[in-house]
């Protein structure tokens, strides 16, 4: 619940398009709260998408990425029903992952 990822992937003419929405505060460490204290940095450092066990995309993210980021990419290959999964690790060492199937 706390760490939520929405993912869906679809395939058309040999290309698979993956879209994901990741719930994460993505605090940059440069913002102050109402009391004037700095909100400590808390952001995703690495995000990885795998298709049938093979890594198809690795993203090295940082504080510049928005809150609750959305990512969309496509790769060659993949067919309907193949497993696809996504996982991330943030600077506090928190992790989350989710897997789904290509539609």
């Amino acid at each position: 619940m706390a760490h939520q990822i929405l993912i869906h992937a679809s395939t058309a003419s040999g290309m698979t398009t993956v879209e994901a929405l990741v719930k994460h505060p993505m605090d940059s460490g440069f913002v102050k709260d109402k009391a004037g204290k700095i909100i400590p940095p808390h952001y995703i450092e690495v995000i990885e998408f795998t298709h049938a066990g093979k890594v198809v995309l690795t993203g090295f993210w940082g504080p510049a990425v928005s809150k609750n980021p959305f990512i969309k990419f496509s790769f060659k290959g993949g067919k309907s029903g193949d497993p696809i999964s996504v996982s991330w690790v943030d600077n506090k060492g928190e992790k989350a992952s989710v897997s789904s199937n290509i539609m």
Binding site: Q4, L6, E19, L21, K23, N68
Partner: protein, 283 residues
């Protein structure tokens, strides 16, 4: 001479008296108002079917509608909806929960709000009902505009998805007065810019205000609470009222004020029969 003046004065008093009583005695007919209100839009935009008004500005701009369709692949309110569901199902410290305060356990009832409460003689919106429930169970009120309140409203509204809006104005002088006050608020000009709600959302509905399309007043309340890209988070109908009032340079009312309760009552009554489509997403 004096007699004539006296007679004139008497006549003018009589005239004032009759005007005042005529205003008070003007029959309030919400049913007829609603038919005229919906008829106005249906006649003006013959291509837009009644139920489509819940999609607001997207009926009038293809590019915005296309972007919206793409956004809705991952509804931006999804996280709020999930949070709202878990908050709604979490028990209060005293062992009760939100469901215990509402008929049917709070599921599928959003279309009946705002509701007239004969006990207090005031209009109760769903947000105010949630706060009443919290106070009755020894908890603090939530802010009515955004945050956890918007999350809970998002969940409760989603359980009514597609149900026809069914707001009732009972034949009670206080209910009719609240309805009339809401109607007057909607059509009264205010603020430094001297706009009424109707100036933008009836007269100029479907037109552009800079880059944005003005949503028609019909169907407007059906998609709340909503995720607004401009806000970057969720907001309730009251938050939008406050925003609109600020935009015309007038002083907004308090979120739980009679003015906003009555306005929500009138506006939602105008949408009777349209499907609930909240939570929504708007630019």
């Amino acid at each position: 001479m004096r007699l004539i003046i006296m007679a004139l004065m008497g006549a003018s008093f009589a005239l004032f008296g009759s005007l005042a009583s005529a205003r008070a005695a003007t029959p309030i007919n919400p049913q007829a108002d609603m038919k005229a209100f919906q008829g106005y839009f249906l006649k003006r935009f013959p291509k837009v079917p009644l139920a489509a008004y819940v999609n607001g500005p997207y009926n009038f701009s293809k590019s915005e509608a296309d972007q919206w369709k793409q956004i809705m692949e991952f509804p931006p309110y999804q996280f709020a909806l999930d949070t709202g569901k878990s908050v709604f199902n979490t028990k209060f410290p005293n062992g009760k929960d939100y469901a215990s305060c509402f008929p049917n356990g709070g599921v599928g009832i959003a279309q009946n709000y705002p509701m007239f409460d004969p006990k207090t003689g005031r209009v109760v919106t769903l947000g105010i009902a949630i706060n009443r429930c919290r106070v009755a169970n020894g908890l603090k009120k939530l802010k009515l505009t955004t945050g956890p309140m918007a999350d809970i409203l998002a969940y409760m509204t989603s359980t009514s998805d597609g149900k026809p809006i069914n707001v009732v104005v009972p034949n009670n002088p206080k209910a009719l007065a609240a309805y009339r006050a809401g109607k007057e608020y909607f059509y009264s000009r205010r603020g430094q810019l001297n706009f009424s709600c109707a100036s933008c959302h009836v007269q100029e509905a479907g037109m552009h205000l800079r880059g944005n399309v003005l949503a028609p007043a019909l169907g407007m309340t059906a998609a709340f609470p909503l995720y607004r890209s401009k806000w970057g988070n969720m907001g309730t109908l009251v938050r939008r009222f406050i925003g609109c009032n600020k935009k015309v340079h007038s002083v907004p009312a308090k979120p739980d004020s009679a003015a906003y309760r009555d306005l929500a009552y009138f506006l939602t009554y105008m949408n009777n029969g349209l499907p609930v489509s909240g939570p929504g997403a708007r630019p």
